[in-house]
Symmetry: C2
């Protein structure tokens, strides 16, 4: 299998999405364990919610669902052994980190960058959508923060993020995280394991034919 392409899982996420946090913190190690590759697909969930006529996350608009979600998050984080602090601001704006994630999507630092950004939001309750926050985070990873942020803020890259969100709409994405294996869609952290199993199965099938 050395020269063969890995079966690929598309991972659509927004750094403001709490259930994306649960997937983000484990997806890279789980993908490695399954022998599958990740196509990182950062996108803005806000415009999708607005297209449904919602002014914010359903966890904000629907009090009962919101109250439950924070209890569920605390339980799920215990289950996965993840730190958890309910963000004092929710959903947090994440435009700059998502733009940086587009720049980094094919870079070896992508996973670590994404996990640290998620941890800032959901474990440290810190804002993530500021140049200062992102500069510090990138510098802590020994990366050329200035150059990366400049590229992230370029017109071409801004257009890319808008295009990502447009593609998400076209694919029928209505929440995050969402996973795709080819055209097969899986919604929510609760379906990550199923998506991975389906992906490695597909991969095996493809290899079997090749």
């Amino acid at each position: 299998m050395t020269s063969r392409a890995l079966p690929m899982l598309d991972f659509w996420f927004d750094f403001g999405s709490n259930y994306s946090y649960l997937s983000m913190m484990r997806i890279e190690s789980e993908a490695a364990r399954h022998g599958i590759g990740i196509r990182w697909q950062p996108f803005l969930l806000g415009p999708i919610f607005r297209s449904f006529g919602w002014s914010s996350s359903p966890f904000v608009l629907q009090k009962e669902k919101g109250d439950y979600t924070w209890k569920d998050m605390a339980r799920q984080c215990r289950r996965y052994g993840l730190p958890w602090q309910q963000p004092t601001q929710f959903p947090r704006s994440a435009v700059l980190p998502l733009r940086i994630a587009l720049v980094g999507a094919a870079q070896p630092w992508m996973g670590e960058f994404c996990r640290r950004t998620m941890a800032m939001n959901f474990a440290e309750d810190r804002d993530i959508d500021s140049p200062q926050a992102m500069r510090d985070l990138l510098a802590a990873l020994d990366l050329p923060a200035h150059r990366i942020i400049e590229e992230a803020l370029s017109d071409a890259n801004k257009a890319r993020l808008r295009r990502q969100t447009k593609i998400a709409v076209e694919k029928g994405i209505f929440g995050a995280p969402t996973f795709f294996v080819g055209d097969e869609m899986f919604w929510g952290n609760d379906r990550l394991d199923e998506a991975m199993a389906f992906c490695s199965g597909t991969g095996a099938g493809i290899h079997g034919i090749a």
Copy 2:
């Protein structure tokens, strides 16, 4: 443990709810395996949706979510080894079967009655909210259909179903299935296993103290 009360799991469901179908078909055998008891809590989900300003299920109102839900249901039914037919009418009205379920909640036929009603809706695509359908179903279980339906349609029992739905609202229930272990709430078939584990853990704790 023979003389001790089993730890109890409250199971809030509506026969019109497709994810309640997934839980219904396995909850009794799973509960037995975990050594826990079920408190059956039929309720009407419709009035709760309407209290959110929704005229129907989110799977109807939100096309993208609905499209996904039917694909997810087909996959989940394969996973659990359950028959599946997407209902041509959704969500199906279930007032009479829910009233009968209130009559049967403490009876030994409750589980089988509920599974057969769910199967009519989600495996056979048949209407469930008619006296004829319920009479046939109860008769097939060798039960006194006439007497049970009469009791189900009594004013006292109609009031009980309204009260159930009021209690559901007070408990912060916003969807089905929903499980409670004491005050701890678990929403969705995806949390049934976690609710069961929590319930038997709680039980063990209580027995340990006693």
